[in-house]
Amino acid sequence: MLARSRAVRAALFALGTATVFGAAPLAHAQAPSAAQVIDKYLLAIGGKDAIAALKSMRQVGTMEMPAMGMSMEMDVAVAAPNKRAMKMSIPGMGEMVQGYDGTTAWANDPMQGPRVLKDKELAQVMESSDFVAEMLKDASKYKSIEVVGQEAFEGTSAWKLKFTRPSGNATTEYYAVDTGLLIGQVASQATPQGEIEARTVMTDYKQFGAIKLPTKIMVSAGPQQMQMTTKTVTFNDVPDGAFALPDAIKSLVKP
């Protein structure tokens, strides 16, 4: 059975929302503050001003599940203040799409059909929907951000930060001590099937306009691995229509 597609999507969604965060207490005397770690990170990827100037962003690439021999095209668009749309096209198998227009979070795929996200799934989408704030790691979006230690992540010395949302959802992120770049994340993703813990490794940062982004993202969820490769990133060119609800979703949300 190939019942893993939801896990794939869940992990992707977590990645699509990308980064985030702000201030935090010191883990111990020698460690930098969370704010310092984040400031260094923001500087490394282009600076706060460049990120704050973003109105929308579109990433196009591929996602592969090497163990299963599957490859798909991926197209993710986000726009301020809180819209997103993602489409994954699998040759011969159809499309998996999901989105959030600021009010309704939805998904549609061949496995489950169209559905409107509710409860914890919706809450997760909403609390991470502001892509600019996510990239800036805006402290106001979190209950707490703290440095919990320094450890090797995939062979690189990294500061380990714990981000806790007001809802209690927590994510652990790893920032390279030398470059300041975000190189990893461990997060739990809500899905209809339950919580899925995904471990993400981010590598191959490249410059796109004024922003530097990882172009290789490897996600491990249980025994499965997914590798996303970003081909192109464009900014401020996503039309509003990209976030319109599909007809099936409109029918589902109709009072």
Binding site: L2, M68, G69, Q112, P192, Q193
Partner: protein, 479 residues
């Protein structure tokens, strides 16, 4: 029993075309025949079908053997859902076989060693397969030629269970109930005898059908010669030459699993004062979703719906969430997948919008699911779950009991390792692996019934539906 076709397609209840669609690699082949000649008396072939030509032994040990073996051992070691390996000393077992692998001069020896390890786990969904077979099955188009014939394992024989009404096999004069004796002059019996000697009885039928489908799948437009035991006095044996034709079957690519044949056939039929929707599909693959959704839309005002999963060998497990949601108007757990570090539930997505974007409620009328020993994996999962939550009545024979979530990974030498990554229990917390799903109603399925043109399982489902109260339409239907 007579059927009155009232839909776009004529449906003959005695015919349930199936193209075969294995979720696991063993043999994914549809058996469809188009015929060209009349039946003719024929002596029984005695020639065995040729086995694959063994590769010439290498002068030196296979350089990839050790890496391939170790990779397989590591993958299972990392992903098998029971960290105790059901008491099998996994590492020790690998150590004992490694010297054999290191001396291997052929890939078959490496495969044999890996199979020895997999067999010790004693569960379905574990196999190592020649990777070149998957490559061979990689056509450029999704269309496929077929013979319009379905076979099942009935009374210990490969038996024609259905013929597509307008298909090549039917036009050639093949009949339901006939046993396949030989394909292109190669007798099946020697292989069947070997399977009986080597395998547990419960596995013989599935393996035999996989092999038969492989032999019968047209590779090109060349006619296929079938020798059949007609079940009649004269001619007892007959040979038919069938020219493959492109029918409605298609191929769906499932990653490393290669191309899976599938077909979806849906008809609205009348039985007395009842109109019944019948949906048959041969594999759980994403391209089958749209026609299944469309069929449910057409049958929303029907007095009952039958889902025929006989011969459906499985596919993508997640599809049960969407298909199940057509029949259950709430979010319910259909089954649970247990991995070492996580547990995932398969839950219904109540389907409250039609394919036309119109608001509907899931179908609430009588639902019957037809199963047989070749209903495997996702088919068992779906049938068992719908039974456990009280939404469907099951008719037929006990399913094959091969229900584990699995994936196929490529090994260093190009072979494919098919392996389960989770255990599975259905909505009733029942483990289906090795047990199967027991039908609520189990009519006797015999060759004689097929020869008489009957389908006892289908007939039992219809009889039950006719005893049920008339259902209330749940939304607009499209005829």
């Amino acid at each position: 029993m007579k059927n009155q076709a009232v839909g776009r397609h004529r449906y003959d209840s005695r015919i349930a075309l199936r193209a075969g669609g294995p979720a696991h690699l063993a043999g994914v082949l549809a058996l469809l025949l188009a015929a060209r000649g009349p039946l003719a008396a024929q002596p029984l072939p005695t020639t065995s079908c040729p086995a694959a030509t063994p590769a010439a032994p290498r002068a030196r040990p296979d350089p990839l053997a050790r890496a391939t073996f170790d990779s397989a051992v590591a993958i299972i070691g990392r992903t098998y859902f029971d960290s105790t390996f059901r008491g099998v000393p996994w590492a020790q077992l690998a150590d004992s076989l490694r010297p054999i692998v290191e001396a291997a001069r052929e890939r078959s020896a490496t495969r044999s060693a890996i199979r020895t390890m997999l067999d010790r786990l004693g569960e379905s969904h574990f196999a190592v397969v020649d990777g070149t077979l998957a490559a061979d099955a990689a056509p450029e188009a999704t269309e496929m030629r077929s013979l319009g014939v379905e076979v099942r394992w009935i009374e210990a024989s490969v038996t024609i269970s259905a013929l597509r009404p307008d298909g090549p096999g039917a036009r050639a004069g093949l009949r339901r109930g006939s046993r396949i004796v030989a394909v292109n002059g190669c007798a099946l019996e020697p292989e069947l005898r070997a399977l009986r000697e080597q395998l547990p009885a419960a596995l013989v039928g599935t393996r035999a059908l996989a092999r038969a489908r492989e032999l019968l799948m047209p590779r090109d437009s060349a006619p296929v010669r079938l020798t059949v035991d007609t079940g009649r006095a004269t001619p007892r044996l007959a040979t038919v030459t069938v020219a493959p034709a492109i029918l409605s079957e298609r191929l769906a690519r499932l990653g490393n699993l290669g191309f899976i044949p599938f077909d979806v056939d849906a008809d609205r039929v009348r039985h007395g004062d009842r109109e019944i929707g019948v949906i048959r599909f041969t594999a759980w693959v994403p391209p089958a979703v749209a026609p299944i959704d469309s069929a449910v839309d057409r049958f929303r005002d029907a007095d009952g719906i039958i889902i025929d999963l006989r011969g459906n060998l499985g596919g993508i497990g997640g599809m049960v969430m969407g298909v199940g949601g057509h029949f259950i108007d709430s979010v319910v757990t259909l089954g649970t997948m247990r991995q070492r570090s996580s547990t995932l539930r398969f839950v219904t997505n109540p389907r409250r919008v039609s394919t036309a974007g119109v608001r509907v409620t899931p179908y609430a009328g009588p639902l019957a699911i037809l199963i047989d020993p070749q209903s495997l994996s996702t088919s068992e999962f779906f049938a068992g779950a719908m039974q456990a939550v009280g939404r469907a009545r099951l008719f037929g024979e006990r399913t094959g009991g091969m229900a584990l979530p699995a994936i196929a990974e490529r090994l260093p030498n190009g072979d494919l390792l098919y392996h389960a990554i989770a255990d599975f229990v259905d909505a009733g917390n029942r483990r289906l692996e090795g047990i199967g799903v027991t039908p609520d109603v189990a009519p006797s399925v015999t060759r004689a019934a097929l020869l008489d043109g009957a389908d006892p399982v289908y007939d039992a489902a219809i009889a039950w539906m006719r005893s049920q109260p008339r259902s209330t339409p749940t939304g607009p239907a499209r005829r």
